[in-house]
Each structure stands twice: as C-alpha cells, then as structure tokens.
C-alpha cells in the first residue's frame, strides 16, 4: 500500500509549526499505524545519512518525526495523534497503536496532528506535555490509605455490578483524547472516570465528595474548559468510557457544594 502523509512538524514549544508532506510506499496492510511511522522515520534517518540518494518524497529537513508511544497494545496511554481529524484515528474504541493500515484506503492522504488543547503544550512535532493529568490526580484521585494496617480483602463485600461499573470507569488510560476532542477543551471525562470508579466502591465512597471537588478545582485551575454535554469525549474515548460517569461526578460535586 502507499500513502501521502501530511504531518505536523514543530521543533519545540516556542517554535512555529507547519505541515510537511511525505510519500510512503510498500506498506503491508498488516502493518500497524505506528509501525508505518517507524518505517517513515527509518527512511528519514537514511535520507540524513545519505542526502544525495534519498528516496523521492522523503526529504528530511527536520529529521525523524517525534511521537509518543510505548506498549503498543492500547493500554499504556502514551500514544495520541489526531488522524484525519479524529483522536486516535477513524476507528472507534481503539488507540492509535492498535490501528492497522488495512483500515485506510490505498493511495489516500493521511493527516497527522498532535493533541490540540491548551492544557497539553507541544514538546516536539506530535509529542505533547500531559503532566496536567498527573496534577489533577494528585489533587485527589486516590483513597487516603497508607501501606499496611488495612483489613482483610474480603471483609467488605462489594456488589458485583458496582465492581463491574467501577472497572468500566477504571479502564481509562489517561491518553488525553477526551480533552483534545472537546470543543471546550474540558477534561471532564478523565476526571469523572476516576471520581466515579472510586465512588462506586465502599472503600472510595467515604471521601467521594471531597475528591470530586478537589479534582474539578484543579482541572479548572490548569486551564481546561467546562463541560457542555456534547458527548464528543465519549465518542472518541478509545476505552469507550461512558458520559454517565460525568453524571456521577456531578452528583458527588453537588454533595460537596451542599456541605459548603
């Protein structure tokens, strides 16, 4: 298969970015999207090694393309990318690293951009800084319990349906697709996933309201927008996390407000 790639190139946070076009050929349909970028990068490095005989369409003024990736199994949340205008590409329910080239039309043009959100400044090319998500969780995304001195695991029974729903929310990989997709740049689904997952368990319920308030306040402080229920986040979440968790977050948040 062959493709024309339009890729966002940007040297660092302060530099001005632009699109660069590359042609790539000889890609197997079984190749993953990120393996396709590996192949492009190998070509770009080779073009830098031998600029005279570099292959057509693969000039490298800027060296290989930087992008975040790690597990390549859809679980670490490192990969990102806006592909043809959609977070994690055209398919629903998968991350960029789990997408295979057979899903694209042979000969088509593919546009690749980094996440777009004020909370995620660009580091280089397609790599963004997502430390804001760590900071939101540091504000309260935990249960206040020290190592040791806890009761036996089976002392508190947990309703199976609640445990399952808690797990649905806990499947969040913290990739940032929700905030990057939202027209308001809101990280509400990310915050809700954590708040809801813990609120559904007896262990986490105790400080549910306090947690919701602290995490929402941090999200606002870091420059993420407000939620206006467009549900775009749910559409683009690679783990299909439901906006019903936002409803649960709102309930916890209101509880906190009533207490104030």
């Amino acid at each position: 298969m062959k493709f024309t790639l339009k890729i966002w190139r940007q040297k660092n946070a302060k530099a001005k970015g632009h699109f660069e076009t590359y042609d790539i050929d000889g890609i197997s349909p079984d190749t993953s999207f990120l393996e396709m970028l590996d192949i492009l990068n190998e070509k770009l490095v080779n073009a830098d090694i031998d600029p005279v005989s570099f292959s057509k369409g693969c000039k490298s003024a800027e060296g290989p393309v930087s992008f975040d990736h790690d597990c390549r199994e859809g679980i670490c949340g490192a990969c990102s990318l806006y592909i043809n205008g959609r977070a994690h590409g055209p398919e629903s329910g998968v991350t960029t690293c789990q997408m295979y080239m057979r899903k694209f039309k042979d000969g088509s043009t593919i546009t690749i951009e980094p996440w777009r959100n004020n909370g995620f400044p660009i580091i280089k090319d397609l790599v963004v800084d997502r430390r804001a998500y760590d900071k939101i969780l540091q504000a309260g995304g935990f249960i206040n319990v020290n190592t040791g001195g806890v009761p036996d695991a089976n002392v508190i029974p947990v309703n199976k349906d609640n445990a399952e729903e808690s797990m649905d929310a806990a499947a969040c990989i913290g990739c940032g697709a929700c905030a990057a997709t939202c027209k308001n740049g809101s990280a509400m689904l990310f915050v809700a996933a954590r708040v809801s997952s813990l609120a559904l368990l007896p262990q986490g319920k105790v400080e549910g309201a306090r947690r919701a308030k602290a995490m929402v306040a941090k999200m606002d402080e870091l420059g993420f927008g407000a939620c206006t229920n467009t549900r775009a986040c749910e559409m683009e979440c690679p783990k299909k996390i439901s906006v019903s968790h936002i409803a649960r977050l709102n309930r916890e948040f209101l509880k906190a407000k009533f207490k104030d």
Binding site: T31, E35, I49, I123, A153, K160, M167
Partner: protein, 647 residues
Amino acid sequence: MIELKSQVPDGPLAEKWTNHKAHIKVVSPANKKKLDIIVIGTGLGGASAAATLGELGYNVKIFCISDSPRRAHSIAAQGGINAAKNYQNDNDSIYRLFYDTIKGGDYRSREANVYRLAEVSNNIIDQCVAQGVPFARDYGGLLDNRSFGGAQVSRTFYARGQTGQQLLLGAYAALNRQVAKGKVQSFPRHEMLDLVVINGEAKGIIARDLTTGEIKRFGAHAVVLATGGYGNTYFLSTNAMNSNGSAAMQCYRKGACFANPCFAQIHPTCIPVHGDQQSKLTLMSESLRNDGRIWVPKKLEDVEAIRKGTKKPSDIAEEDRDYYLERRYPAFGNLVPRDVASRAAKERCDAGYGVNEQGLAVFLDFKTCMEQKGRAYIEEKYGNLFQMYEEINDVDPYKEPMMIFPAIHYTMGGLWVDYNLQTTIPGLYAIGEANFSDHGGNRLGASALMQGLADGYFILPYTIGDYLAKKIQEPKVDTNAPEFAEAEKAVKEKIDKLFSIKGKRTVDSIHKELGLIMWNNVGMARNEAGLKKAIEEIRALKKEFWTNVFVDGENSHFNQELEKALRVADFLEIGELMAIDALNRKESCGGHFREEMQTEDGETKRDDKNFMYVAAWEYKGEDKDPELHKEPLEFKYCTVATRNYKD
C-alpha cells in the same frame, strides 16, 4: 574482591522474615526527614516503593522515562496476581505457593526470598482492595479467582484482562498522594544515565532531561533501581518499546553483580511474527489457557491445507487434532508452566506442524469452551483480549482458533541482591524484575505483579531502614563532589561520541540485527557452538555500532534517536553477557534449554551437582571478560526433584 553474602537470616524458614524484621534497625521519624532516597522507575515496584517510603517520612525523588509514571510497562500485564489466600478452599497455603514458585523456577531461586514472597502475597491483595482496585467479584460480593500455569489451585486475583493496569493505577494513586504531600518529587521524562558511587557506596545518579537534553545531577543517601527487565535485547518482544536494561547495566559497570542473565522467559501465547515491518510482539494472556486448548493438526496434509487456505482450522475433525499439551502432560494439560508450553510448541513446529505461512504458529482454540459455557462467558472473561486479537489479525477468534507462537516476555535474571534486596554496591537496591531473586530459571504466571508489589510495599521499605539507620549523621549528598563531576563528564562524552560517529547505519538496523543473533542463538534452544558464534557476532556488531552508527539530530532538544542509541549501546553489552552466561551454564533448567542437556523425551535436564548456584557476573572493564562469582543454592524445606507436570 566481591564476596556474595546472601544475608539470609537463621531460623526456620517460616520464621525468618518475622525474626529478621524484629532485629533490623529502624530510623526514627525525626531522622527519616533528613534522609533522601532516589527511586528509578515507576512500575509496580518503583511506584509502590516510592509511595511507601514517602508515607514513612523519607524524602523521595522518583524518575521515569515516560511522560507520566502511569505509563510504566507493569500497566500492560493482563492476567492477574497470585496470593495464597485460599479463598477458594482448594487447600492453598503459603507453603504451596512457595513450593510451586520454587518448582516452577526449576530450583534456581533462593528459598528464603521465595518463602517471604509467598508470605507477603496476602497483604498485597488487602492493600490493593483498600486502594480501590476493582478486582473481579462473585455475586456475594467477595473476590473471584482463576488458575494460572504451574499451579493446581485457583489463586490468581484479576481485574478483567487489565490486572496490571489496575494494580499500577493503585500504586500510582498512592504515589500521587505523596507527591501532593510534598514527600515525593516526581521527574517524568528523565532518564538515568549513570550511577554515582562515592567511597564504594551509591550516592546519586546522573540523568538526562529528555525534553531539554540537559544533563543533571541528583544526590541521595540510597538509590533504588526498579527499572524492569532487558527483554528488548531481542528487539522483538512483548515488552513496551521503551523498556530497556540500561540503568541496570550502568550499575553493573559501577560494580553491581549481574545474576543469571541467561534466564529469559519465552511466553507461549503471543501473536506470531507477520513480516519484517514489525516492531513489537503482542501477548495474549496466559489466563486464556484456563479455557483455551492448544493444538496442531495430526496430519501433515491438513497442515498444508490450512497454510494454503483450502481448509479452515474449524474444518479439522476432533480426532485429527493433536492437543499435544494434554497428550504429553496429562496432569497439568494446557496449564503447564510457560517454558514447558513454549518448548512443546517449538517441538511441533520443528516437526513441520506449524500452522501459518512461516510454519511458526499453533492454535489456541475455544471451541470446547464455547460449547460448554457459551459465548457470554467468554465475552465476560476475555472480551478485550478477543477484540485485541481481531484488531491485529483481522480474524474473529469466536469463529476460528487464535494462532499463537512463543515470544520473549520477561527476564528472570537481573542485578544480584541479598535478602535485603541490596546489590553488591552498598546503598544500591534493586526490586521487581530488575533483580534476580525470586523466579529462578522460569517465572510462573501472575507472579511478576506479586513480586513487584511485595518488594515495593512490604519488603524494601523495612530493609532499606537497616542501611539508612547508619546514615542518620550524614549530611545531604553534595552533588559538587568530584565523583559527580566525573560521572557527568563521562555521560556527556558518550553522547558527543555517539553524534560524532556519523556512520551509515541507523540505530534500529543494528538493534534488529542484534535481535536476530539473540533469537537464533540465545533463544528457545541454545548450544555451545551457537553461543560461541553469538558472542563473536555480538562483539563484531558492537564494533560496527561504535564506528558506523548514525545518530540523527542533536542533544539539546527532545531526541528519540539519541534515546534509542544510548539504550542499544547497552543492549549490545547485555546480549553478550547473556550469551556468556548461557555458555557457562552447561545444563538445561527453566527457560534456559541447552540442547546438549535433555532427556530422551526432550525435557530439560538439570545438573544439580555442578550448577546449583546463582551465577553472578562482575564487570572487569571494557573488552575484558566478566568474572563469575557463585552463590550456592541450598534447599532445606523442599525436595529437589525433576520437574514433573505429567502426573
């Protein structure tokens, strides 16, 4: 002269840890505030250790190479975590978990460490539940279990196919809590590039800020390495792309012994290699072997027909299928340990029964389970794994069996540590996959998560106090000391050297070449001639790397080519060390299969008389052979026997 002192406490096995804890020193809260600890790596081991040390009152700095601690590769563990809770009433116990782990490791791990691991396993489950880990539960609200390879009881706790993710998010949450309290400082996108040793003790690190390229110094009273394994030496493995063994190699070069490097685990159920454009292999959880049955056709003509596509696997009649694990190992069947299952797959493929185009695949079939328990059962238990398989292969595993093949997955070898998890450099500790201590020649499924959290939550936080109690009078480490300057200079020179080569080879092309040498000669089957050849080839490749590599870009900004180059330089050293160790160990045990040493039916043949020891290698300088130190292994509480999974 290094002397290996295991520091295993006296007394009966079941009382060792309790007695040891009662006798080691503790540091008072007032003094903990004065002590600094560096933790490298944020997987289960690193995150749980840093969180717990922070709770105790130490000042902790934690480093990771990814953009967030939550990305560490522990997140990808699927199947579960073992504990000896005996919630299923199937006669499980601490002793049984200990015994299974020792036997699974083919009698090449340290008895006292393994017993302690089994002992604290139950605390881990309690801790994780208290943190809000949504483990699978039954309708009564109590925890559910499943079975894993090498065990005849159900002791594996799980959260769908995402157990590693959930446990890591628990540890990461505990870590975040300490960051918020100011007890832990987090340094994401920072890579350790050297260990600083002052007067023989670990006192800090040199790290590169991956965003800016800045080389920075960090000092501490102790350094904890929790950087995982070195499976990516093989280029293709189930490890995450950025997992590497560089931090361990830096410590090795500074005097920490490297133990049993040749013990690498090859996982039997991975998605087969599809072509030369691949960068990563994907694991299918071992839990699938609870309900899936492994087979190849009995007749070669059926194999041919499947390869050509004229027959579908589901067309093969029941009597024409060879469920070879059930045939060879009736007692454990499809749930034999990983090394046994991997070798059995290789045996069938070598005999010509491999079912994909390359002849390097076998079937993992859910037909029987579908008939007996129905599709809904499979969807609930393995839904995400089935979806993942379909995404990658474009084949619906509910209709046709999965194709699987063994791949490199985990490394049992690692930095040598004593009972306190301290390396041969005082003040330097290694935990989780980064050390060697608990899994011997082969790790059982669902035991890596157990070890990472056991070390981080419940063992290291106690044992490190015994060392730090002697340091309460020591002031903060001065990073202007000449040792820091020297280490920083060496790192900078190494980076400059890499850029200055300007050769013709890309970093990846050399890594791929190393991977092939390793897989072909230091992979599932090894022999003397092959290992000698591998050592020569790796040495030549090392030369090629240092004279003909091309590292694109510059140091002063985010540069993934440089990151890779620094890691590949170390993979070349690790590969050589693995081959040297494999050549030395003239016996077959666990994942290390020397073709010269096998029984008549192709099983591993240990040589307990000559090799019942831990091989700990000491670095002697560039281009010099490492020196072998032996830690003899004693088994007082279990009978050393030939591993038998047949009856």
